[in-house]
């Protein structure tokens, strides 16, 4: 697998949105009975799972090239 730096950027983006650092302390929106920040954390986690699976299935690991390096 070649070095794809955009993959790291996507993961940093997912962490930035998934970790609820940007919410004010005293506000707690509820959506479908769950705190909104929890819902977003779960959605981001689902996105991270699909993204990781995509990377693993899309890019082959170039075995011979790496070992010969």
């Amino acid at each position: 697998m070649k070095r794809h730096y955009w993959i790291i950027v996507v993961y940093i983006f997912l962490i930035t949105v998934g970790v609820p650092w940007y919410w004010p302390d005293n506000i707690n929106y509820m959506v479908i009975g769950l705190p909104l920040w929890v819902l977003i954390a779960i959605i981001i986690s689902i996105c991270a799972s699909f993204f990781t699976a995509f990377i693993l299935l899309r890019y082959k690991w170039d075995i011979e090239k790496d070992v010969n390096e």
């Binding site: 993961y11 962490i15 970790v19 779960i42 693993l56 299935l57 082959k60 790496d66 070992v67």
Partner: protein, 493 residues
Amino acid sequence: MNNFQAFDQTAFIFISIYLSALIIIGFFGYRARQENTLKDFYLAGNGFGLAVIFLTFYATQYSGNTLFGYSGMTYRIGYSWIMCVHFMTAIIACYLIFAPKLYKRARRYNYITPTDYLQHRFGSNSINIVVTVIMIFVLSNYLLAQLMAMGRAMQGLSSADPNTAYQQGVILLTLIMLIYGTLGGIRAVAWTDVIQGSILIIGLIVLLFMLFKQFGPISLATTVIQQTQDFSKINVPDANRIREWISYILIVGFGSTLYPQAIQRIYAARSEKILRQGLAFMAFAPLFTALIAVIVGIYAIAYVPGLEGTASDQALTRILSIVQKNSSLGYWLTVVLYAAVLAAMMSTADSALLSISSMLSKDIYSRFVNVNASEARLTLLGKLFSWCLIIILVWLAIYLNDKSSLLKLLDRKFDLLIQLVPAFMLSIHWRGSQALPTLIGLIVGIFISLCLAYGSFNFVHEGKIYGFHPGLVGLMFNLLITILGSIFINSHK
């Protein structure tokens, strides 16, 4: 635990059949061996196919800690523990950093233990011995946590006195695990992982269904928690918890990939394609495992209030006891779940034990005591070492009963494991990485981590520095020493 309705004889027969099946699989593993070599015993010769690789990764990674510890932690801190779904996903992302290159080298150079890579990369006995000792220590700690979880599970299963049930649980389940592990090696461990992983997945999905049926939607549980005015378990986490969240993503993400048994599973895949596909499946595992453990914890906050301290690790058992009493369907589903919980613990413990056994025989005995030992002798010695070690750990598990929360054991091992990042992940990508600075960095990193974790400092609260694990601070110094030292050595060559 006192509220739990003990299982009847039919349920015991069901669980006994399940446990007996594990021993039978061990026997089949013994029959399936192709040769009496380390590679055959610890890596199953040519390796495993997709289903086995996925389920053995899954059953090994999700343990008693996941089910009891995570639901208990949710009980203590509330929705904030949703962070566990993030850090369990981070593990698979971190595999992308080094698994491709490590797998290639393992296939080409026939690695068996994790330090075979280090021997090949650095040719340094000092690094090997330090890394092996760290890994054995960490795995023993991990194994101990699983044994204790087995005992706690048995407390819920039996109507006997809790202490007696705990001791019987630890001894009986460990014995079964030892028998099939000794007979069939990695084949028995991986094949039992297939059963254990399948039961665990089915059991957890069934549990989710049972929770909704018994208590209604999770929104209702959230409302109940709100009515108790305990907003800390629902509100947005404070700044310290946010830092802790990021810290967990880093320390568990990187640390878990460096478990010796996880590295050996990378070696044991039959092909690169199978390994990639197995890990791709694993990327979804947090959603149907860690997330369900969090949901259990939320229901427990709402409907089983009043659990304090180590008792909060019983959140799952308490919830199961309510579901069990509700209907005969609930009762039987609980029996299956109990088998799943036992499966989770045993599958994690057996992998850790097998890994320790391989390191003791190959990395220590074969490298430092008897370099001419035959493979058959090393395999036999590995089995003997695992029996000796397990006797000590069983004694410790019984001695430590109720003295330590499950998650405290979990925290410290990652502080140590993450110090292996430069030795494995940096060195595999950077040819300039040198043995001496890597070794010094590793030792300094461990020293700093342990000092911060166990010393008394004003800025350390609950074993963390402003929410960050001490291991991350240690890793910064570790990386700095490794990189600067390697640059220095390379520039003077």
